[in-house]
């Protein structure tokens, strides 16, 4: 494309330079700080991500910055980490949804919205802000659009899955297309698309689309699946579960409804890897959505899949889907009861290999901070004992909130998390899930209005 037109270029420059030399700013390239690699056998990279403020404190719309440290440094409270000034800008117009390989060496990103929306890229963490792009870039946008909801399936970092849904209201015009008074609402179709992606070789594995509708009674009342997310593979590896949100319209006017009865939590179950035969399963224990938000909402442990739900009128539950691919309605783990609060809302959680988990939540009593969202807390959860306890060794703050929190780094039974109120400094904390001992790690240096969204 570029032609060697040096003489012409300099000619034009002479014309343009004139008196405005002084006003032209020159941006010096600051060299990347080289960080020495201290490879030890048990060490791994811990990658910290921060979401920068856009227009308002805590909105995270200014982009996502990532920065890697060794797990030793992450545990060292004398180490300072400043991703907002020294980090690597993840190529996404809005908050990127990141995933890491189990060993922490690779960061997977599918950028969300904008000109790169739907692009899958893979980076090798080389420490600090040195992230080296590896493998070829591919786009899943033709299948699931430029704002895909994706996570990796826990199958040895081989596969990622992304989903898409669009809805269409069906109306019977009673044969009179010009008369609105005799029109009746029938139901709403949800067209869902699922794509699976080979994370290693960067290629598309499979894609299927289906049209799904809720049962007749619910559908006629105006209930429909409006959003899906969080594909999770079962232990046998033959079914894929997809979390769903159910919304409702007013069947007389087709406008969005509010203050309606919340249905039992639902999950779409598909054959894997064929992605065929979708069915919908419904919990008798929990009500509300299972599609989560930014962080992974359901995990396989000990042969079953444990799933958090949100917007449950009784407070969030951890729901269990058994090896038979049905909700286990005997397993009743209500977080309001376990935590002794009302309106518990799970923001992000993650179990370690021992069935013990760290869970971020807020509740009806949370006071609103600078970002307009309620104060958040961490709890230590035992999936088997169905207990949840507030972790008191982590400092809380009214401006500390985890709505956009994405990830915990798991190293065996240890869980790494980030704690920093919006716009204030904080620390990495390491929870030994076996003993419940909390260790204060490296200091997180914040920027005004920004916040940290996790450790990988």
């Amino acid at each position: 494309m570029k032609r060697p037109l040096l003489t012409l270029k300099s000619f034009s420059l002479i014309i343009l330079v004139a008196s405005f030399m002084a006003s032209c700013s020159s941006d010096d390239n600051t060299p990347n700080p080289e960080k020495e690699k201290e490879e030890e056998t048990e060490s791994r990279w811990i990658t910290i991500a921060g979401a920068k403020m856009g227009d308002n404190p805590g909105d995270g719309n200014g982009g996502t910055l990532i920065y890697s440290v060794s797990s030793e440094d992450a545990k060292d409270p004398t180490v300072q980490i400043e991703p907002f000034n020294n980090g690597f800008v993840a190529p996404s117009n809005r908050t990127a949804r990141l995933q890491a390989s189990e060993d922490g060496n690779t960061i997977f990103n599918i950028s969300y919205a904008g000109d790169t929306g739907g692009n899958y890229t893979k980076y090798l963490a080389n420490g600090a802000n040195n992230f080296e792009q590896t493998g070829s870039e591919i786009s899943i946008a033709p299948y699931v659009g430029t704002a895909p909801r994706w996570i990796k399936l826990f199958d040895g970092d081989n596969t990622g899955a992304a989903v898409y849904v669009s809805t269409e209201h069906q109306v019977d015009d009673n044969g009179t297309p010009d008369n609105v008074t005799d029109d009746t609402y029938l139901y709403t179709n949800s067209s869902i698309g699922i794509v699976t992606l080979d994370l290693v070789d960067s290629k598309i594995n499979n894609f299927q689309e289906h049209v799904i509708t809720l049962n007749e009674e619910n559908a006629a009342a105006g209930y429909y699946i409006s959003r899906i997310d969080m594909p999770t593979l079962n232990k046998a590896g033959d079914k894929l579960y997809i979390g769903a949100r159910v919304s409702k319209i007013d069947p007389t006017t087709l406008e969005s409804d509010s203050n309606y009865e919340i249905l039992g939590s639902k999950t779409i179950v598909l054959d894997y890897p064929s992605l065929l035969n979708p069915t919908i399963i419904t919990s008798a224990v929990g009500h509300g959505n299972t599609n989560g938000y930014r962080s992974i909402n359901s995990f396989e442990y000990d042969g079953s899949v444990y799933q958090a739900n949100q917007s449950d009128p009784e407070g969030s539950h951890i729901l269990k889907i058994g090896a038979d691919n049905e909700y286990d309605d005997i397993y009743d783990f209500n977080l309001d009861n376990a935590l002794g609060v009302t309106g518990a809302y799970v923001l992000a959680w993650r179990p370690a290999t021992n069935g013990k988990a760290v869970l971020a939540y807020r509740h009806d009593g949370s006071v609103e901070g600078i970002s307009g969202r309620g104060e958040s807390y961490f709890a230590l959860v035992d999936l088997n004992a169905k207990t949840a306890t507030l972790i008191n060794d982590i400092p809380y703050d009214v401006d500390f909130e985890l709505f956009q929190y994405q990830s915990y780094a798991v190293n065996g039974t240890e869980i790494f998390l980030t704690q920093a109120p919006v716009g204030k400094n904080g620390n990495i904390y390491i929870i030994d899930t076996e003993t419940g001992i909390v260790t204060k790690g490296a200091e997180l240096v914040n920027a005004t209005g920004s916040h940290f969204i996790g450790a990988w």
């Binding site: 343009l16 405005f20 006003s23 032209c24 200014g62 800008v89 299948y143 609105v180 029109d183």
Partner: protein, 804 residues
């Protein structure tokens, strides 16, 4: 089209059957050394009668009562001539030709200079750039390109002919800038009648007001206003042009005016046609071919879904320069547009195919202008437009295409059809927006004396909007809420001239009143009828400002202007949009901006045959109460909750300097250079940072050289060269000082060059021009990473008849 032309022909024939002249006239040709002299002034001494010679050197003065007169002909740098004539008959045209001699002793004399209209406007005190279209109208230049060379103005265009354009004045753009045609907001005419479709030849001149907008152009724009003044056409003329060039771009334009001297009966008509395939080549990181398994190969692609067509016509009929009105015209404007859409806001790896927009507009207008109404010094000026315009978005094709222009093949070897059933991810649509629009602008001015003048102006604009979509059920269409917007802006200005007209002041106050009417259809109690529930919101606000100039010496003028400008909240900012989960905020406050300009103008200095002018302006803008969405908006929307627009706490500030330099030599050579450098900052993450996606340093240079008697005697050859420079800018806030990965969001420094030549044939009826745009085929971008056309060639032919 054919019908329109027939209509014009009729309009042109009818008046020729009208009345016979009652008064006398004089006409003739002004020449110098055998060549016609353009722009010489011809006045009857001690009367108000006078004119200027046109391109052919001809002139005519009409409606001359019986009596004895002294005709004075003058032109800067030439010796004036006068001649006494006596007119004692009725209905006679006296033919008098003059030949002027160049004035060799010019430097030794005291020169009393008449300012050109451009200079007069630019020394009134406002930060204004007046753009003359005389020369450029003969070239293959779009009106937007003309504006782009103006200091402080940056056009941000999303591609080729017909693509979406944003006007940026000193860094503020979008809704901050209002565009007017003859004082009527261009938005009234709809997108089919944009600056893309108005050829420069229909435009008399363009006024660009930066930050401070005079009372007569009242609008709620915090950034400034651009006013396009169309040819008045009270002289008989016909002007036709056709141009053809790269990307199958064809443009034709016809405009004419006919005035019957005896009665003042006037007919003006114009028509335009624009077409382009816009199939220019683009490349870049998202321009890739995608293999079935997803592997991507960068390619150079031709845009394949970007054709644009617009055509339209205007006709006006009435009386001009008669006893009871300077102008009384009734007119009609019709236009229609087809615009294919190649991609969304961003250029992604998935181009659109078969998504297009169609719009049309039909408007009637009435214009009345009278000086010295009832009493001397009282002038009235009124302009009203009423009509309908429609817009359809058509996107129903689900088939996926790649940048190769071919269908996209999926991982299973099958063609991909998008799951969302359309090109845009929002799903198939045949959305239709019907608007009834009206705008009335009236002005009353009264000159208390030569030095004091009071002006009262009122602008009303109203939009009744109705939305529907054929692809959704009637039930859903019925319950779509609609918003109507009515705006009144009143302004009172006071103009003062003092110290022998060395000091000029224009002080003004503006009162804004906006009513938004929101209609929500609901069923009645027994579901047998749909009734409308109507909500109203009224916002009012007051702003004020001034512009002043002081002529220190004839070549040094100082200018200052300031305004507390405001932008009223839009309909969805007030009433929300249920479809977009936006809640109403009835207490939202308007955005305000304190705007300040301080400048000077030096010149014109004349040293022998050299003339030059230097002007500079320092500007500052401070925007408060910016309207935006709150922090948790994304999260709330994500969980289907509602959000509302609010006034944001952080302000935006713009500071900068712009400068221009003009140089002429012997009327043959013209050079101009202008540059703008500014900062546009807002508080981001507690740090003052540059607002992204705004170029902060731009420069333009232009060179014109005229050769007379080239090949044929009496011919004129003009050579043009333009260069444009835009500094590197980022389309995202820089995250930190030491971060990596930022280059992903950078738009590199750009320099592009245009060259043009025009040749005017001896009889002055034909002008041919040839233009090369972006000679060195550089990659140029205005917005994000949307690439604009590379090298392109255009040929244009103009045909002009005057005084038929």
């Amino acid at each position: 089209m054919i019908r329109t032309f027939l209509f014009f022909t009729l309009l042109l024939i009818i008046p020729s059957m009208a009345m016979i002249a009652q008064e006398n006239s004089i006409s003739g040709t002004i020449t110098t050394s055998g060549e016609p002299l353009f722009g010489a002034s011809i006045v009857l001494k001690n009367t108000h009668l006078g004119t200027q010679s046109n391109l052919n050197g001809t002139y005519s003065i009409k409606k001359i009562p019986k009596g004895n007169y002294i005709v004075v002909v003058s032109y800067l740098g030439y010796q004036s001539i006068s001649k006494t004539i006596s007119i004692n008959k009725n209905r006679v045209n006296y033919k008098i030709d003059f030949t002027l001699q160049e004035d060799a002793k010019k430097l030794n004399e005291v020169i009393v200079k008449a300012k050109s209209k451009k200079t007069t406007l630019e020394t009134k005190g406002f930060a204004v750039s007046a753009i003359n279209t005389k020369e450029t109208s003969l070239r293959s230049i779009q009106t937007n390109e003309l504006l782009n060379t103006t200091v402080g103005v940056k056009i941000r265009q999303n591609g080729g002919l017909g693509s979406n354009v944003q006007y940026s004045l000193n860094g503020l753009s979008g809704r901050s800038v209002s565009i007017f045609i003859d004082g009527i907001p261009i938005s009234v005419y709809g997108s089919s009648f944009s600056l893309n479709s108005i050829p420069p030849s229909m435009i008399k001149n363009i006024e660009v007001y930066k930050g401070v907008v005079p009372g007569h152009l009242s609008s709620d724009a915090v950034g400034g206003a651009i006013n396009i003044i169309l040819q008045k056409g009270s002289q008989n003329n016909l002007n036709a042009s056709v141009s053809y060039g790269s990307f199958n771009t064809f443009q034709a334009n016809l405009n004419g005016a006919y005035r019957l001297d005896s009665s003042g009966f006037t007919v003006k008509a114009s028509a335009f046609y624009n077409y382009s395939d816009n199939d220019y080549k683009i490349s870049g990181r998202t321009i890739v071919d995608i293999a079935p398994n997803g592997v991507e190969t960068p390619i150079v692609a031709r845009r394949f879904n970007d054709a644009y067509r617009s055509n339209g016509a205007m006709a006006q009929i009435g009386f001009t320069n008669v006893k009871w009105a300077e102008q009384f015209l009734i007119g009609i404007t019709a236009s229609d547009e087809y615009n294919e859409v190649q991609h969304g806001t961003f250029v992604t790896k998935l181009p659109y195919k078969a998504r297009f927009l169609e719009s049309d507009a039909l408007l009637g207008n009435l214009k009345y202008q009278k000086k010295n109404l009832f009493i001397k010094g009282l002038d009235i000026n009124s302009n009203a437009v009423y009509g309908k315009r429609n817009r359809i978005i058509n996107d129903t094709v689900a088939q996926a295409y790649s940048w190769t222009g071919k269908r996209l093949v999926g991982f299973d070897g099958e063609y991909i059809d998008y799951i969302w059933g359309s090109q845009n991810e929002n799903g198939p649509t045949l959305a239709k927006i019907e608007r009834k629009v009206s705008s009335i602008r009236s002005g009353l001015s009264y000159a208390l004396s030569n030095n004091h003048k009071i002006l009262f102006n009122h602008v009303y604009s109203g939009v009744d909007r109705e939305d529907s979509d054929e692809l959704i059920s009637l039930l859903e269409n019925t319950f779509l809420q609609t918003s109507d917007l009515y705006k009144h802006i009143y302004s009172l200005s006071y103009e003062l001239k003092a110290f022998e007209e060395k000091f000029k002041l224009n002080a003004f106050g503006k009162y804004y009143l906006q009513t938004v009417k929101n209609t929500q259809p609901v069923f009645n109690n027994d579901n047998t009828q749909v009734i409308d529930e109507v909500y109203e919101s009224k916002v009012d606000y007051t702003g004020f400002g001034f512009a002043t100039s002081y002529i220190l010496t004839p070549t040094i003028t100082l200018l200052t202007s300031a305004e507390k400008a405001i932008r009223l909240p839009s309909e969805n900012e007030v009433f929300g949009d249920a479809g977009d989960n936006l809640l109403a905020n009835l207490t939202i406050k308007p955005e305000t901006s304190n705007n300040l300009n301080i400048g000077f103008r030096l010149g014109e200095f004349d040293i022998k045959k050299n003339g030059f002018t230097i002007a500079a302006n320092f500007f500052a803008r401070n925007i408060e109460n910016r309207i935006g969405l709150p922090a948790n908006a994304d999260g709330l929307r994500e969980s289907d909750e509602f959000v509302q627009y609010t006034n944001l706490k952080n302000t935006a500030e713009s500071k900068g300097v712009e400068a221009e330099f003009y140089y002429t030599y012997n009327n043959n050579l013209g050079f101009n250079f202008n540059a703008t450098h500014m900062s546009l900052t807002t508080v981001n993450s507690g740090v003052e940072s540059n607002v992204p996606n705004v170029p902060l340093t731009t420069m333009n240079a232009g060179l014109r050289y005229t050769v007379k008697d080239f090949i044929q005697s009496e011919s004129i050859l003009n050579l043009f060269y333009n260069a444009y420079y835009t500094d590197e800018f980022s389309f995202k806030f820089a995250a930190g000082t030491n971060t990596t990965g930022e280059d992903e969001f950078l738009i590199p420094k750009q320099i592009s060059h245009d060259f043009g030549v025009s040749y005017t044939f001896p009889k002055r009826n034909f002008v041919f021009s040839f233009d090369v745009k972006n000679i060195f085929d550089q990659d140029v971008y205005d917005n994000l990473s949307v690439q604009k056309p590379g090298r392109a060639f255009y040929l244009k032919m103009n045909y002009i008849i005057n005084n038929f």
